[in-house]
Amino acid sequence: MIRFIVRRLLQMVGVVLILSLLVFLWLRSLPGGTVSAMLGERATPERRAALEKALGLDQPIWVQYWEFLKRALTGQFGSSTGVQPGTDAFQVFLTRFPATIELAFFALVIAVALGIPLGYLAARRRGSIFDNLSIVGSLIGIAVPVFFLAFLLKYWFAIKLHWLPVSGRQDPDINATRVTGFFVLDGLLTREYDASWDAIKHLILPSLALATIPFAVIFRITRASVLEVLDEDYVRTAESKGLTNKVIRGRHVLRNALLPVVTTIGLQTGGLLVGAVLTERVFSYAGLGEALAIAFERRDYAVLQVCILMAAVTFVIVNLLVDIAYAVIDPRVRTR
């Protein structure tokens, strides 16, 4: 098991190196650039040249890449030029990452907490009104664009009903203490429970919007998987052995049906990071996704590089965790 994990982590280093080169080349092949973003209409050829020189962008591209690698190895990724100018890009990442994790975690909890039980029930009552309604619901979840859903949610719950805030992560009046950067956790740790509660209120709408697609996918996979397992011989055997319904459901049906679901959850986590770009933008939620969107507009190379690379690292780690979860759920994987 440990050898397996180590091997996967080593592979990750290779992936990150190759990706860093690709991202680097890609960013620099884009039209426009940091200099245009910084100067706007006050760009003159002279100012452009001076700024390019000051930023080192006049160097040949391999020199720039080599400089970047050297810095990256010492943990310095260079200053942001657009998202939070003057702050090291890795620091920007560290500030934003907890926000996205918090959002993705809430979204995933919603998706799993609703998707698995509903999928299971729909399968058990196949063909019922409940089943059909759930399927229609999950289709809507996939089909409605996030920005539209976000608009509706904000319109009803924030503007009309005043139940929840429109955007952001926390009311600035709360004056909360920051410890880990996870606002909900920070409030619990410092016993500023109002701060936690306020952060949760800010999380509800964006995580609902973000959860729709993973919910729909998890729901459908669970339903299909449970249906398949219900037809298996071992379930019939268990029933004929006279085992209680509880044992059959828990040990035989759910446990076997969950394997593909867990894989799906792992894959959906990557999807969550992608979905977060749009969701965070429309909810003005200060996470990685919003940072990426701003960084792209302003050609903030340092932040784009760090965020894309770290997203890749996160993705690899999540997949590793999924594989470990496999081993826990399915003893056969462990022995292999």
Partner: protein, 558 residues
């Protein structure tokens, strides 16, 4: 066995939580009273900003989001009269120049202190100017942009700098020497970048230590912890929650801020800003989309329209398309445009047709100039005379951008393009994202004609037509390729150096006439007023053409 396997992670998590809880302490002051303001006004103003401030030392900033914040905290020798683009005394109570316009004497305001208790005096003024002048190579190449624009160069190249030194004549009088008379003085000193900051804090915070960090700039500690003289001071910038909080400076020399706390909430998405206002969680925001103005007003908000201080123009490049070298062709293009229609249908309320390359708020504006009328017949006639009937024109506009002078580039473009095609010009359509090749292509001279504009920084003709045409070697209009370019550049420099204000303005008026009637390097299209919107409960916010609003006079009713 089974017990330990399940219990171990739980125990570990619990232990971790306990450890974290042990080191986590609430920083809250016990008597936190955020909404205890007496009377019927709130003690906090919350304003929706579109972007994060870059840093809090305005000297290294060039963007409006930073200046909106630092303007509340810092003041310069020269201030701006609320609601206008004109200057007024601020930290200097009066000033006068020598007869040759090269020596400026500033009488300073008595009894002003920086927040750190340091006195504001002539020594502090000169320390500030010397600090701005003495920049390292990195800062000079990038962040110290306004100094580079106004003063030309830095201490390392002192001979070419406009700034020649500052001496304290007595405790409350500072004398600044410049290399030549210029219309920039003293107006340019109203720029936020040239605000006065505490010498002690600048020194302690190593304020000039700008470094290159990768492809960006690293700023010293001072930039997060500035010290000025203004009505508000920085409380905190919560990067994780994207809010900047300022608190009232109770030792302020002038009228104290009416509201104790000023919060800027950073909301990059425009429609989200609008929703925040509708939900009542912010009291106002900047640059509402002109398409929303009516709706916002209908909901009871106040849309505060700023006097226009900008220009939208169609740039023309005679180097790229030699037909444009003929004045008749350029005039024909101008006569072809139905700008009255454009202003009425595509631009925000209050927009006007331009008669010259500057708005009427700028000194040197020529009132007698009339706009080129819409006359397609005349346009066709002129094209015929020039032998340019049916000419092709590579005309471009930017996508993915909205500027105050150009809220919706595509719509403006479509209207202008239709007008040009109506007189027989074959328009080759081209568009690129603003920062995805458009600006680069304009600078590299890749288009025959294009849409661009300018928002002024301070009230001087030089900041408009000087920026456009004075630099003969490199300007977007490629005037070096024309017969009149060199003379125009000379005339602009000559006007800029006239010491007497009346004579100078007269000279600029003449240059404006010459530009519009004889040279016509490009087509000045329109001026569009940008706006801000506040809820009906907000009182006392005066819209500024320079977007230099101050919040110290603002109250918000409960």
């Amino acid at each position: 066995m089974k017990f330990t396997r399940k219990a171990a992670p739980v125990a570990a998590t619990a232990a971790l939580a306990l450890t974290l809880a042990a080191c986590a302490q609430s920083d809250r002051s016990s008597g936190s009273s955020s909404n205890s303001g007496g009377g019927d006004v709130k003690d906090t103003i919350t304003f929706g900003a579109a972007g994060a401030p870059e840093l809090f030392d305005p000297f290294y900033a060039t963007d409006g989001e930073t200046f909106r914040v630092t303007r509340q905290m810092m003041e310069g020798l020269v201030g701006i009269k609320p609601g206008t683009a004109d200057i007024q005394p601020e930290l200097a109570t009066s000033w006068e120049s020598s007869s040759d316009g090269k020596e400026w004497t500033f009488k300073l305001r008595d009894g002003v202190k920086f927040w750190d208790g340091e006195p504001f005096n002539a020594a502090a003024v000169c320390y500030n100017f010397e600090r701005m002048f003495d920049q390292n190579e990195v800062a000079a190449g990038g962040p110290a942009g306004y100094w580079a624009d106004v003063m030309g160069s830095f201490k390392s190249d002192a001979a070419n700098a406009l700034y020649q030194g500052c001496t304290p004549k007595d405790d409350m009088t500072a004398v600044i020497k410049i290399s030549r008379p210029t219309s920039k003085f003293p107006t340019a000193l109203s720029l936020d970048s040239f605000s006065m900051q505490s010498p002690k804090a600048l020194k302690d915070g190593d304020a000039n230590n700008v470094t290159k960090q990768g492809e960006g700039f690293g700023y010293p500690a001072y930039s997060k912890n500035p010290v000025g003289t203004g009505p508000y001071k920085l409380d905190k910038f919560d990067e994780a929650n994207k809010t900047v909080t300022l608190v009232r400076n109770d030792d302020y020399w002038g009228e104290k801020a009416k509201t104790a706390k000023l919060v800027f909430k950073i909301i990059p998405d425009e429609s989200t800003r609008r929703q925040e206002l509708e939900a009542g969680s912010i009291d106002g925001y900047d640059l509402p989309n002109p398409a929303d103005w009516k709706g916002l007003k209908d909901q009871g908000n106040n849309v505060l329209i700023r006097p226009a201080f900008n220009i939208l123009y169609m740039g023309l490049n005679p180097q790229k398309n030699p037909k444009l070298k003929d004045l008749k062709v350029r005039q024909a293009l101008y006569y072809a445009l139905n700008r009255d229609q454009l202003v009425k249908t595509q631009l925000p309320e209050g927009a006007t047709v331009a008669t010259q390359f500057m708005p009427d708020t700028v000194a040197g504006y020529n009132k007698s100039l009339k706009p080129y009328e819409y006359n397609p017949e005349k346009a066709k006639q002129l094209l015929k005379e020039a032998g340019a009937e049916g000419m092709t024109l590579l005309f471009a506009y930017p996508s993915e951008v909205s500027r105050p002078y150009m809220p919706d580039p595509q719509k403006i473009y479509e209207a202008l393009r239709g007008d040009l095609e109506a007189v027989g010009i074959k328009v080759q359509v081209n568009t690129k994202p603003w920062n995805g090749g458009y600006l680069d292509t304009v600078d590299n001279g890749g288009y025959d004609a294009w849409l661009l504009g300018w928002t002024g920084d301070y009230n001087s003709a030089d900041n408009f037509i000087g920026t456009f045409f004075a630099n003969l070697k490199a300007n977007d209009f490629h005037t070096s390729a024309t017969s009149y370019g060199a003379q125009l550049s000379k005339d602009l420099d000559a006007a800029d150096s006239i010491v007497d204000e009346g004579q100078r303005n007269a000279a600029y008026e003449k240059v404006n006439q010459q530009i519009m009637e004889q040279d016509l390097p490009g087509l000045a299209i329109s001026h569009s007023p940008p706006a801000l919107v506040v809820s009906e409960k907000v009182k006392g916010l005066v819209p500024s053409p320079l977007t230099a609003e101050t919040f110290s006079t603002v109250t918000v009713q409960k």
